[in-house]
């Protein structure tokens, strides 16, 4: 299982999914209309490290975080 968490202002509970790559996750999330505004401008971390390749493989126990636009300071 891969745990997917939505951070900051994204008002959505974490999900547990049987997926093997970010590609698969992208397909699943694209079905969810409440996420439409977020997928375009959110970054993704796998086990807390930002990733930039949608082909990134995922394995059992990985944690994926969805990070919407930031504004620290």
């Amino acid at each position: 299982m891969v745990r997917v968490e939505f951070l900051g202002p994204i008002d959505k509970e974490a999900m547990e999914l049987e997926i093997g790559s970010l590609n698969e996750l992208a397909r699943i999330l694209s079905e969810d209309s409440t996420l439409a505004q977020w997928l375009k401008n959110s970054a993704v971390a796998v086990n807390d490290t930002i990733v930039r390749d949608r082909e990134t493989p995922l394995k059992d126990g990985d944690r994926v975080s969805i990070l919407p636009p930031v504004c620290g300071g």
Binding site: G8, L39, S42, A43, D48, I50, C71, G73
Partner: protein, 148 residues
């Protein structure tokens, strides 16, 4: 060297402690950037969420980058509500060399604004409203987006 505090930062305590720890470390230039919440419109306070594990990785990468130039970075940030006219954010660079310190404080603060996983909310009449207009998509944003 990266601190998260509940509520407003005690700027004097933090800078005083950093000075105590660094005055003898033979850096010639110490540049803190102190962010202070401005009074604007109806805003009573700002409020912050932080995703600490990724923030720590971002900060540790920066510490490596600073070290490669003989410098050091430090940072403090608030979690939760911070009233106007108080500080939510201090970044600092220490370097033996003035020009390195001046360049790095600029790069560090700008990269912080673009890539530190912190979310800001305006607090108006006690309600928390995501500061969408002022927020910036992080480097690598959109990788889960599929064009129709």
């Amino acid at each position: 060297m990266m601190e998260i505090h509940e509520g407003a930062l005690d700027v004097k305590e933090i800078l005083g402690r950093w000075l105590d720890e660094e005055m003898n470390s033979n850096y010639g230039a110490f540049i803190p950037f102190i962010g202070i919440i401005r009074e604007e419109g109806e805003i009573e306070a700002l409020s912050f969420d932080i995703y600490e594990p990724t923030l720590r990785k971002w900060f540790d990468d920066w510490q490596e980058r600073a070290r490669a130039e003989g410098a050091r970075v430090r940072m403090a940030h608030s979690l939760g509500d911070v009233p106007i006219h108080s500080s939510s954010y201090i970044s600092a660079v220490l370097s033996p060399r003035r020009k390195v310190a001046l360049r790095l404080i600029n790069e560090f603060v700008e990269d912080f604004k673009a890539n530190a996983p912190i979310w800001k909310y305006d607090v108006i009449e006690g309600k928390r409203i995501y500061a969408a207009q002022r927020s910036i998509a992080m480097d690598g944003a959109g990788i889960l987006f599929i064009e129709d």
